[in-house]
């Protein structure tokens, strides 16, 4: 009955395409992403090197392909972590109220008051950098927002009569939260998740740019942009290619988020008669 919004189609196709390219990367890449070729360094885009080559003569297109899975992993992985920690915290805070809620929400306030990049830096500074750590750091940065969204959604739902009916049956907290609340909380949470992925990808790339993500010679879009800086005037394509890819991915994920919101949020759908 509900037609899928066009935005969801467009965004979904682009994101799906990028995911497929990232998976197929090793097979379809024309060159080894790490293969040096000193004779063809800093070549502009051509038929052989679609996105040109970098200062070591590595094929930028192959490196962008190889780096795609890093960006995607950071986006989806970090969001999954924030969801896995934030949603239970938010639900418990809403359900228990009182001191439990105060403790959780003030802790969350504390986390939210630290700028995300600084928090990411802090987490990464005490450990060795690496992809897994970056994902964890970015995930933790977005826990507070997920907690708040989950709590707000749950508070609304807990005021519904069907929850009171469950209490009148003497149901426990687990049943009420998992069976009554969670199924109704998904639509707003999914929308929030989709939009959150955008920020996670961006923050992950920013941390990589600062050297706190995957380490060279691995390729990652944020890292590639950082490496291209010295050559920005003579060979702008080195940074432009991953930058543009990042833009396309972010916009597509964002469009998917908005499409999901239109699909799942009845308030924005406009009630049909």
């Amino acid at each position: 009955m509900n037609s899928i919004p066009r935005t969801l189609w467009v965004g979904g196709v682009i994101v799906g395409g990028i995911v497929i390219l990232a998976i197929l990367g090793p097979w379809i890449a024309p060159f080894e992403p790490d293969a040096f070729n000193v004779r063809s360094r800093l070549q502009p885009p051509s038929v052989i090197h679609w996105f040109g080559t970098d200062e070591f003569g590595r094929d930028v297109f192959s490196r962008v392909l190889a780096g795609a899975h890093h960006s995607l992993l950071m986006g989806f992985g970090a969001t999954a972590i924030s969801l896995a920690i934030g949603v239970p915290l938010g639900l418990i805070a809403a359900f228990r109220r009182g001191w439990t809620e105060e403790a959780i929400m003030r802790g969350v306030d504390l986390m939210i008051s630290i700028p995300p990049v600084l928090l990411g830096l802090l987490i990464l500074a005490v450990t060795e950098p690496g992809l897994g750590k970056t994902i964890l750091a970015v995930g933790l940065v977005y826990v507070p927002i997920m907690t708040r969204v989950a709590r707000a959604v749950a508070l609304d739902l807990l005021a519904e009569d069907f929850v009171e009916a469950a209490r009148a049956r003497g149901e426990g907290g687990y049943h009420i939260l998992v069976r009554e609340i969670l199924p109704n909380a998904w639509p707003p949470l999914i929308v929030e998740t989709a939009l959150r992925i955008t920020f996670a990808i961006l923050l992950g790339s920013a941390l990589s740019f600062l050297g706190l993500g995957p380490q060279p010679p691995d390729s990652e879009w944020g890292l590639m942009i950082a490496e291209s800086r010295p050559f920005i005037s003579e060979a702008p394509w080195i940074g432009l290619a991953p930058g543009l890819c990042l833009c396309v991915l972010l916009i597509a994920v964002n469009i998917v988020g908005e499409g999901l919101r239109d699909l799942l949020d009845p308030r924005l759908r406009g009630r049909g008669h």
Binding site: E102, E160, F162, A165, A168, R169, G170, N184, G272
Partner: protein, 664 residues
């Protein structure tokens, strides 16, 4: 004398474009209001009442297409002139005064705004005029109120301010869309008095849209009954309501629980629901629900008659024939009620405490004791905010009590009750949309209590679910439905079935029929009565609608600001002696066919929220029979009239007994 009517609608049809195709919201609607006249427009929700108002104002949204032969106001074509006339010569009052006022502007400015806009008055002059208007609307200390913001006013005061705004430019026509539906019955009576006075003194014409036939009967000379976008009956108000001609009008009246009818009389539910408006029927569109329908009803029906119009070709033929009343199942012999639930001194305050500062809480329920016998229905009435719902949740231990004891079937019920008590005491809610989990099918919703209380599982539970559906008169295939696939009445039945799944002895019905249209309400009330008779379930029946409570309850308790002020058998509470509050409450109920009652009406000043102080009688500040200092300082004693009737009042018993009948 032939004069043109002030408002004339002829052949108004309206369609809304939707994904499912065009919805024919109004089909060939005609009505006329003479200067100084008042027309009532009634019908169930979805019948198109509000669409008429929006069409007159030219405020139909996008996707609406309107056709009509004439839409004239005092000779001007409203299709072109609506934007210019509304707010000036046509005033409008909507249902919810809280939504109609801008929360960030003062009351005075909002009343003055149309004067500045339309009449070009200066700000000062307009504000001065606004204060006068507010005063005329019966608002005390008008100059002070004009400087207040909406949230500082009670609902009744807000609605007065909205009416003042609508009247600012002295319109000739006032459109009233359910103007008192959001208000308590005593406040509603005040607003109706005000509207009556405006008609009498200013000669304002009115179009009153309402689902409440009692209100229409009080205020209007003429009546138009709308069903699924078509006018089915039209004529003078009193005769139409006394002897309705169209089967739908008859059904509406027969479905209404009335104070003046016998208790527990069967109500007439109108089966089925509104037809699909995307495919309007050529013939009578009420035919599928009509007990008088014949094959010939498939032919187009004309609105015919002389003084009174009726869209039914059998109107003359079936005159005097009553709606068939569904058979009641045989009542099991009811034992003499022995106490099932005994509550003593229940109390609960809200809003106290706080993390950083101590505040004085509001005492929602303040030392209430009550007893409900096996298979007995105790009706609980009172205005909103009196603590009815809180009390309902306290006796179920759904919220914790500050003080008091509860005994159920002889056993003390502790703040964390056993699962056995949970099984035996259940609740039915007001809002059918909120009471069912939107992500659970009917089967899941009904199966859960069966499993939870170890009543049945697997195949046996499936059979039990089907039995429950049968109990609430729904087909077994409803098992697989989700809430959004059902109508309000059907959802309410599922809510009742869920409460009955654990085979309880006691149900709290918290405004269980208030959100339903009368025709559906009648069906649910009949169902509740039958369940009481066949299963012996006891109810605490909470409602603001005294007609409904009078219909179903064995005993009635009247609550005011957290305490029970009167309690007794239904017949005792509905007849003198009354508590002064009960008297006012009964006197305020708009009743169909009660013209001439106005003179003897008792009116309360202010409303519940204008209460102050906790010493003395809670009702003292509004009491029309206030005796003096004793009422303000000393808690009134419980006076007993016979074994079962009690009134908390300082007035001498003889004086209470000498009160006139407040009803009819």
């Amino acid at each position: 004398m032939v004069t043109d009517p002030l408002l004339s609608i002829q052949g108004l049809s309206l369609q809304y474009a939707t994904q499912r195709g065009a919805v024919h919201a109004l089909q060939d609607v005609s009505l006329a209001i003479p200067r100084g006249g008042a027309m009532g427009l009634v019908g169930e929700s979805g019948s198109g009442k509000s669409s008429v108002v929006l069409a007159l104002l030219g405020l139909l949204g996008e996707g609406a297409s309107l056709t009509c032969d004439a839409l004239r106001f005092d000779g001007e074509d409203l299709r072109e002139a609506a934007a210019r006339l509304r707010g000036q010569r046509i005033g409008v009052v909507f249902q919810d005064p809280a939504a109609a006022l801008n929360p960030s502007l003062t009351i005075g400015f909002q009343v003055a705004e149309p004067l500045i806009q339309h009449q070009g008055l200066s700000r000062e002059a307009a504000l001065a005029r606004a204060v006068t208007l507010l005063g005329e609307m019966g608002i005390p200390r008008a100059a002070e109120i004009a400087r207040a913001y909406p949230h500082q006013l009670s609902g009744g005061m807000k609605q007065r301010a909205v009416i003042a705004t609508a009247l600012a430019c002295e319109p000739e026509l006032l459109l009233l869309d359910e103007p008192t539906t959001a208000l308590d019955v005593t406040v509603e009576a005040q607003i109706l008095d005000l509207l009556e006075k405006l008609r009498r003194e200013r000669g304002v014409s009115m179009l009153l849209v309402s689902h409440n036939l009692g209100i229409v009967d009080r205020l209007c000379d003429e009546l138009t009954v709308l069903y699924a976008g078509r006018v089915v009956e039209q004529g003078r108000c009193a005769p139409v309501l006394a002897v309705p001609s169209h089967p739908y009008t008859r059904g509406l009246l027969a479905a209404l629980p009335r104070l003046d009818r016998g208790r527990m009389a069967r109500l007439v539910p109108i089966p089925g629901g509104l037809p699909d408006l995307t495919q309007p029927m050529p013939g009578c569109n009420f035919q599928p629900r009509c007990p008088f329908a014949l094959d010939a009803c498939g032919a187009p029906q004309l609105l015919q008659g002389e003084a009174r119009l009726s869209r039914c070709h059998r109107a003359a033929e079936i005159e005097g024939e009553a709606w068939p009343i569904p058979e009641a199942p045989e009542a099991v012999a009811r034992p003499i009620p022995t106490p099932l639930l005994v509550a003593e001194g229940l109390a609960r305050s809200f809003g106290g405490g706080g993390l950083f500062r101590r505040r004085a809480g509001t005492r929602a329920v303040d030392g209430v004791s009550l007893t409900i016998g096996r298979g007995e229905v105790l009706g609980l009435v009172g205005e909103s905010g009196c603590g009815k719902s809180t009390l309902g949740r306290l006796v179920l231990r759904l919220i914790s009590a500050d003080a008091g004891h509860i005994r159920f079937d002889g056993q003390a019920i502790l703040p964390e009750p056993s699962i056995a008590f949970r099984r035996r005491a259940q609740i039915v809610f007001q809002n059918p949309d909120s009471s069912l989990n939107p992500r659970q099918t009917v089967d899941e919703a009904l199966r859960r209590p069966l499993i939870r209380f170890g009543i049945a599982s697997g195949e046996e539970a499936t059979r039990e679910v089907e039995r429950l559906l049968e109990l609430v008169r729904l087909r077994p295939d409803y098992r697989s439905r989700y809430p959004h696939q059902m109508s309000g009445g059907e959802k309410q039945r599922i809510g009742i079935a869920r409460a009955l799944a654990s085979r309880p002895d006691f149900l709290v019905c918290d405004e269980a029929v208030s959100a339903l249209d009368v025709s559906v309400q009648a069906a649910v009330l009949n169902l509740l009565t039958d369940l009481r008779d066949t299963l012996g379930v006891a109810y605490l029946f909470i409602s603001h609608d005294i007609g409904v409570v009078a219909h179903i309850a064995d005993r009635i308790a009247v609550m005011y600001r957290g305490a029970v002020v009167e309690e007794g058998l239904a017949a005792q509470v509905l007849a003198p002696p009354y508590h002064p509050y009960t008297e006012a409450l009964l006197s305020a109920v708009p009743v169909v066919g009660a013209q001439g009652r106005a003179k003897s009406r008792i009116r309360l000043k202010g409303d519940v929220s204008s209460a102050q102080g906790s010493a003395g009688c809670r009702f003292a500040h509004r009491c029309p029979r206030h005796m003096g200092a004793i009422c303000d300082t000393v808690t009134p004693p419980m006076l007993a009239f016979g074994a079962s009737h009690q009134i908390a009042c300082h007035l001498p018993a003889e004086q209470l007994a000498a009160m006139p009948l407040a009803l009819g």
